[in-house]
């Protein structure tokens, strides 16, 4: 071991460690670390691997339930859907890489999350993508949107996993810092559930997949002395994904898991070789020794720091069942992958690495995996509080409410996402029963079973910005409601917490509140948290003002549900004329002002991001979900759609446009017309039914409030407010023209 440079502590920051953390490390190992060790600890204690700012908050999450086969802590969570089947699912962000190089950033985001899924022994069978961009008219946004969409298509289409859903929103806070969150689902038989463990003493540690290059290196800014002679310019700023290699890795990994010849599996993700092997050792409660000389390299002259922390894609660690190493190798041979034995599991508790015959790292496994935890002081931003409490009652109601409808449909956040999802193969694997655009959630069948799996991802960042607790809870509620709208029972969530810099009290406040909101909603809706991902420091410096701009806090919720019979489901398009439309849930707007709070309407039409987020009643939400499911499962309806951005009027317009069947409804009440039409109260679902009597009986029995709205039919959307002598009527063709254009234009 080389003697440590005297200034190692001074440059602890370059390894991602504070001076305090450096001291903690010295205390923990009873000596000065060398630079490699400091870097390894820095990587393991980073937010991405160690969750040092977020983990303390997570104790609020409910994580158990009869449906949970695997909770947080493994590569992905797993829920039971019955008949011996489980669904592994997880969401992960690739925000920063996508800002630098959108195609490869997004592509490798897909690759990374898929590896998490098949590392569990599950065959990936669906991808959803939750995307946030800045000003839709700016060239930079167009560059990013096109690149990200191409990247997801490039990877997902090629590997052959359908991209079945997602969301895309546009808001200036994401201008320089887009969000690319990708969720993947995989299907497994219970008995094939794999773990990221090293197993027992004596087990071999086997590296499979691509060779290691100088990619990524944890994104940390290392002093050049710590790296090889390769100049900064030679170090790739971008990791390139290879879906073909990943496809081989996927098949190979599933082959060895299904054959029962591996005791542990883990993908190499953030902080590469180190974090994967370190976590596997920790889960086994054992130590390991690995020989870095055996790591296959893409370039010559690579040094331990690079070998350890490279984030080259498409690599896995496999631990064969003792005695079955040859069988494992034979199975892997078919896929022509690099397969190299790089070390073994030891009885000691050390993370020990050798290189050129010397021990270059010798650290306790536990220390690496037990990052310090920080609980900070959160304080709400004054500015945001003031915006929330702004009195909106004086705002004028626009005279032409019909053109407001067109304006909202043409907002890229609401507009049709067809130009995006048509670039994704959403049908490969022949399981996609409900395709993108057809309903509030995607539905996949499970071959050889009557069951269906539904999935959705949701978050309304404007809500979270103005009220992080309610906004985050509302994201969970919306996800559950979306699943109910296709006929699926919500089972569990994965979350992706995208926030700014947690050292800023106002950001920490948002994080704290959002986590609590998610936890409470998950408890109320019986959807435990099975995993998640944290992406902090999403911020940039505005060139003109010099101010640091944090993104809108965006806790994306990915939720999975089950349909007991996939044939019994609903979609959002009106199926026939003459059906009766009902609104389930929150009554139409009551109190002025507040009922347009935090809405897309307020932002688009009045240029205001203000007001109170509508109150969320989780008990009501649960009843609306139960009511919607009851109507679908008793065949009273096969048409359901929830109300989200743009409120009731936009939801109705979407139901009409999807089928070419129009509707005429009337909204009782004397509340502001814009609130009745475009307010964004939660817990609302529109259904179309034939048997009104049975419908009303069912809803009453379940204590679900409802309003009879009107009838389907005609070729326009006609909404009247009889008590206010207001009527708007717009032809479906005109609505569709407004709705279809914006993304087509952005995507060139």
């Amino acid at each position: 071991m080389t003697a440590s440079v005297p200034s190692l502590r001074d440059r602890a920051g370059t390894f991602g460690l504070s001076e305090g953390e450096y001291d903690l490390l010295v205390e923990g190992i009873g000596r000065e670390p060398n630079a490699l060790e400091a870097a390894i600890v820095g990587a393991m204690w980073s937010e991405h691997c160690g969750y040092k700012n977020s983990r303390p908050l997570f104790s609020a999450f409910p994580t158990t339930g009869p449906q949970v086969l695997q909770g947080p802590g493994e590569n992905a969570g797993v829920v039971d859907i019955g008949d011996g089947w489980g669904v592994a699912f997880k969401m992960e962000s690739h925000n920063h890489p996508s800002a630098v190089e959108p195609v490869q950033g997004a592509a490798t985001g897909v690759g990374g999350i898929l590896r998490d899924i098949f590392a569990m022994g599950a065959r990936p069978f669906a991808v959803l993508d939750s995307l946030r961009f800045g000003d839709p008219d700016s060239p930079r946004t167009r560059f990013l949107v096109n690149g990200v969409v191409d990247g997801i298509a490039h990877y997902g289409n090629a590997i052959g996993v359908p991209t079945v859903g997602g969301e895309v929103t546009f808001h200036p806070s994401y201008q320089e810092n887009p969000l690319v969150n990708v969720m993947a689902l995989g299907l497994l038989r219970h008995e094939d559930l794999a773990k990221g463990t090293m197993g027992e003493v004596g087990n071999r540690i086997v590296y499979v997949g691509s060779k290691t290059g100088r990619d990524g290196l944890g994104g940390a800014v290392f002093a050049s002395a710590d790296l090889s002679d390769a100049s900064q310019a030679d170090r790739p700023a971008v990791q390139v994904g290879d879906p073909f290699m990943e496809k081989l890795l996927l098949e190979a990994t599933l082959d060895v898991i299904n054959a029962g010849v591996v005791a542990g599996v883990q993908d190499m993700g953030a902080a590469g070789l180190v974090s994967s092997t370190c976590e596997m050792a920790y889960r086994a409660g054992l130590g390991i020794t690995m020989d870095l000389d055996r790591v296959p390299t893409r370039e010559s002259g690579m040094v331990p720091m690079e070998l350890c922390l490279s984030e080259s894609q498409e690599r896995m660690i496999l631990v064969p069942v003792p005695g079955r190493e040859d069988e494992m190798h034979a199975l892997l041979d078919k896929w022509e992958l690099d397969v190299i034995d790089i070390g073994q599991v030891e009885a000691h508790d050390r993370y020990r690495l050798t290189w050129r015959g010397e021990v270059v790292c010798d650290l306790p496994v536990a220390l690496l995996n037990e990052a310090p935890k920080y609980t900070r002081e959160g304080v709400e931003s004054e500015e945001i509080r003031a915006a929330r409490e702004r009195d909106l009652s004086g705002l004028p109601v626009p005279a032409d409410l019909g053109s407001v409808l067109l304006q909202l449909l043409a907002h890229p956040t609401i507009a049709s996402k067809r130009p995006i999802y048509e670039r994704f193969d959403h049908q490969v694997m022949t399981n996609t029963v409900v395709v993108p655009g057809a309903a509030d959630a995607a539905v996949l069948r499970v071959k050889g079973s009557s069951k269906g799996v539904a999935a959705t991802s949701d978050c309304n960042p404007r809500f979270v910005q103005l009220d992080p607790y309610t906004g985050a809870a509302a994201a969970v509620a919306e996800a559950a409601r979306n699943l109910a709208c296709v006929g699926a029972t919500p089972l569990a969530i994965t979350d992706n917490l995208n926030f700014g810099n947690p050292h800023r009290p106002e950001v920490y406040y948002q994080l704290q509140q959002a986590v609590q909101g998610i936890a409470d909603a998950c408890r109320a809706l019986n959807t435990p948290v099975t995993g998640g991902n944290v992406s902090l420091y999403n911020q940039y410096v505005d060139q003109t003002t010099g101010r640091t701009v944090a993104i809108h806090p965006t806790p994306t919720i990915g939720m999975v549900g089950v349909l007991p019979d996939v044939a019994v489901r609903a979609t959002l398009n009106l199926k026939a004329a003459g059906q009766t439309l009902y609104l389930l849930g929150t009554a139409l707007a009551e109190n002025d002002g507040d009922s347009i709070g935090a809405s897309q309407y307020l932002e688009t039409v009045h240029g205001l991001e203000a007001g109170r987020v509508p109150a969320l009643d989780l008990d009501l939400e649960a009843r609306v979900i139960a009511g919607t499911l009851a109507l679908i499962r008793t065949h009273l309806t096969d048409t359901a759609h929830d109300c989200a951005e743009g409120g009731l009027a936009v939801a109705l317009a979407e139901m009409g446009m999807a089928s070419g069947v129009g509707l005429q409804v009337s909204l009782p009440g004397t509340a502001r017309a814009d609130a009745l039409l475009y307010g964004e109260a939660h817990s609302r679902v529109v259904v179309a039914v034939t048997d009104t009597e049975a419908t009303e009986r069912t809803l009453t029995g379940l204590n679900v409030p409802f309003v009879r709205l009107g009838l389907s039919g005609g070729d326009s959307v006609t909404i009247s407010l009889p008590e206010q002598d207001i009527q708007l009527s717009v032809k479906l063709t005109e609505l569709k023209a407004a709705y279809d254009a914006p993304l087509r234009e952005i995507l060139g």
Partner: protein
């Protein structure tokens, strides 16, 4: 039009070639796959890298065309985050213009 301007016009059409290659440190999945495939076909090659060759025609005075070509090659035709770029310029035969 008089014959002189026509002549000038012909003299100032250039055929440019832009070669875009991945930076050496960047993984080239395509090259890797092609290399493997060649070896399965019994044809040994190593260090296979797949890049782009962009051909285009530019019109103007040589110095100015060179500046424009450099600008295009660096800022549009290649992605400096991942790629290296070089270019060549030569006067194009007249008929090439018509083919444009």
């Amino acid at each position: 039009m008089s014959p002189e301007p026509t002549k000038t016009y012909q003299a100032t059409v250039f055929q440019a070639k832009v070669f875009v290659t991945l930076k050496p440190s960047i993984l080239d999945p395509q090259g890797r796959t092609v290399e493997r495939a060649l070896s399965h076909l019994g044809q040994q090659a190593s260090g296979v890298r797949v890049g782009k060759l962009i051909e285009l025609q530019l019109e103007g005075e040589r110095g100015e065309v060179e500046t424009r070509l450099q600008d295009m090659a660096v800022n549009v035709l290649s992605n400096p985050v991942m790629e290296d770029v070089r270019w060549e310029l030569e006067e194009a035969p007249v008929q090439a213009v018509a083919g444009a």
